[in-house]
């Protein structure tokens, strides 16, 4: 049993060569620590800040945690009153609730003993009593009452674009990859080269003509205008074709002898076998579509059709940035991707490492 137990330092120092940690190990962990703070710190700071009230956000230097002033119910008052710590004339301190402030004086009352009556205090003698409290209203208000930021609509649009586009991409890319890897027909290689040669040509280079096509079809301010143009991804074709090449042709021939149609072979044999590659492409596609910005920005000019990214940009670009809402909505926007990452990171990292594509 004793051999299985290890102190933390032994565990940290444990290494294959059984040598003691040296300077290079020290530097390694120093780099990793600083790196972790730099990479995660700003995101954590965003999340922590998103729970602060509007008043809490303008405080400088900013406190680490979201503090809010304590409010107390006092008999005889309809609304809860803010609590202060007051230094009295005799030097003693007492927690008093403020009824109202008049100039530099505040009318206070003792919540423990309301019958004692009002006490007048100079405002310099009081400081707010605070507690750590999460301002959930930053998250809940945008769902109901902001007129210039229709969060639910944006979320709905983003979900529609992401899911529909991913399904379409998976279907048409896998069909094309199947054709390009398993059939002999005239022009096959030319078509493949044509697809792949656009791998390095981003939509940025052809913005104007694609915009014309979209406008002619009538897809301006229409989610289809965002979904369809990027659906035929060269990345997906490349990824799936390379994977399908490894599926033995004998399998297809056997199915044909059993009387399966070509569509049947695609649906029942190729798709199930290509599942790992499909999973990687699905994750990529969700990432691309959820995060897409420039193209939706051009196609969608009406508030009702904004995706989250476009809506968030418009909202943060206003003259008076309402940071408490912007921060909360940024957290909501990064949440799905973070969850996808947390559960599927193995797929993502191996997918990228093997294809070199993002």
């Amino acid at each position: 049993m004793a051999a299985e137990r290890m102190t933390l330092s032994q565990f940290l120092a444990k290494r294959r060569g059984r040598r003691r940690p040296d300077t290079s190990d020290l530097l390694t962990y120093l780099y990793l620590t600083v790196g972790t703070i730099l990479m995660f710190g700003p995101v954590l700071w965003l999340v922590a800040s998103s729970f602060k009230t509007q008043a809490g956000l303008v405080k400088y230097p900013p406190p680490l945690l979201p503090y809010q002033q304590v409010q107390v119910e006092v008999d005889g008052f309809d609304k809860a009153l803010p609590l202060f710590e007051v230094t009295l004339e005799d030097g003693a301190t007492k927690e008093l609730a403020q009824i109202r402030r008049v100039g530099i004086e505040a009318r206070m009352i003792d919540p423990a003993n309301p019958e004692a009556g009002e006490i007048t205090v100079n405002i310099r003698q009081r400081s707010p009593v605070e507690e750590v409290k999460l301002a959930w209203e930053n998250y809940l208000d945008p769902l109901i009452e902001l007129d210039n930021f229709d969060f639910f609509t944006y979320l709905k649009n983003s979900v529609i674009v992401t899911s529909v586009a991913t399904v379409i991409t998976l279907v048409i890319n896998s069909m094309a990859a199947f054709a390009l890897s398993k059939y002999q027909f005239k022009g096959r290689d030319a078509i493949f080269v044509l697809f792949i040669s656009t791998l390095m040509i981003p939509i940025t280079v052809i913005l104007v003509p694609v915009f014309l096509v979209i406008t002619s079809i009538g897809w301006k301010n229409n989610l289809w205008g965002v979904i369809i143009p990027g659906a035929a991804t060269p990345t997906g074709i490349f990824l799936l074709r390379q994977y399908m090449l490894t599926i033995p042709d004998e399998l297809l021939d056997a199915a044909r002898i059993d009387g399966a149609s070509e569509w049947h072979i695609y649906w029942r044999i190729i798709l199930p076998l290509a599942r790992p590659a499909l999973a990687v492409l699905a994750i990529f596609s969700v990432m691309w579509r959820w995060n897409d910005f420039l193209w939706p920005l051009i196609v969608l000019s009406q508030n009702d059709y904004f995706t989250l990214q476009v809506g968030l940009n418009a909202f943060q670009g206003e003259l008076q940035i309402q940071w408490h809402y912007v921060l909360a909505m940024t957290v909501v926007t990064l949440l799905p991707i973070t969850l996808v990452f947390a559960f599927l990171q193995r797929f993502i990292t191996t997918g990228i490492a093997t294809t070199g594509l993002k």
Binding site: L46, A176, L207, F211, V213, L297, T333, V340, T354
Partner: protein
Amino acid sequence: MRLLALFDPLTRPLMLLLVTAVDRALTPIQRRVGIDKMGYFFVLPNLIIFGIFVLFPMLLNFYYAMTGGTKLFPADRPFIGLGNFGTLFDCGDFLSPNSCQEDLFWRGIFNTIQFVVFQVSGIVFFSLVTALVLNRKIVARGFFRSVFFYPVLLSPVVVALIWKWVLQHEGVLNAIVEVFGGESTRWLLDPNWALFWVVFVSVWALMGFYTLILLAGLQSIPPELYEASSIDGANTWQDFRFVTMPLLMPTMFVVLVLALIRAVQMFDQIYVLTGGGPGTRTQLMVQYIYTTGFSNQIQLFGLSAAASMVLGITLLVLTLLQLRLGNQSQLA
């Protein structure tokens, strides 16, 4: 994945119906054309979308670049030949953007060059160091790999907002700087600092991707080589210099070119973070294409298309460079 199975009772029958319907429709066609020609059918949906939204626009872009006016439909646009390129390249002195008719275009080019040089060297350096560190025998390697990779997945808008919040005047960075006795700064309003932060933030957001590629490259180096070099008495630096570096070169090259191609196209992060400012200090080429064609009151589609062709040619040259040198490094 298991979660999706919950929807099975709902989607299964629907799917089955759909698949059988397609199968029914296809069987007579397959009987007529034979097996191999079915390839055309499978490639068709992708080919149609590709043709309409990629191939056709690519050809149309040439025409746009040679027309003027502010109308969108090609028939309404007067043909002006190379006029747009003439406007773009109308410069008294190519080294000073102020002397150019389209000074914003040239500023965009100069800013892009600066940005690309700093950002790509930053990415190559930091992703190499990070990959080397992560390749060592360290505790919780998976965790640290995720830490450096996580920002890659965030949207450019989110990344920009995270940093805008950190960098704002009453922000946490200034608070930290003041704790260490420094002076608080308006980071994004000072021209030099703005450029620095734009580069920093994009390195922050993208380096994890390249780290991953380099890590894969490092792990494909056979360990026997290190055993051999340790028998020869090589120290850590010599290991790195004479074993790791030469074998990592092809991967480094891929990283360099990919990073270059991406950096030239940089837009969204900077657009949200600084809007191209202060002034036009961080306005890059793609932002010029976007503002000229889409966000200005007068939409000069022809000029925008011409500028995007300049961008396209740049990307083409970089890609060809990759293919050319990539083949060479494989031969070597």
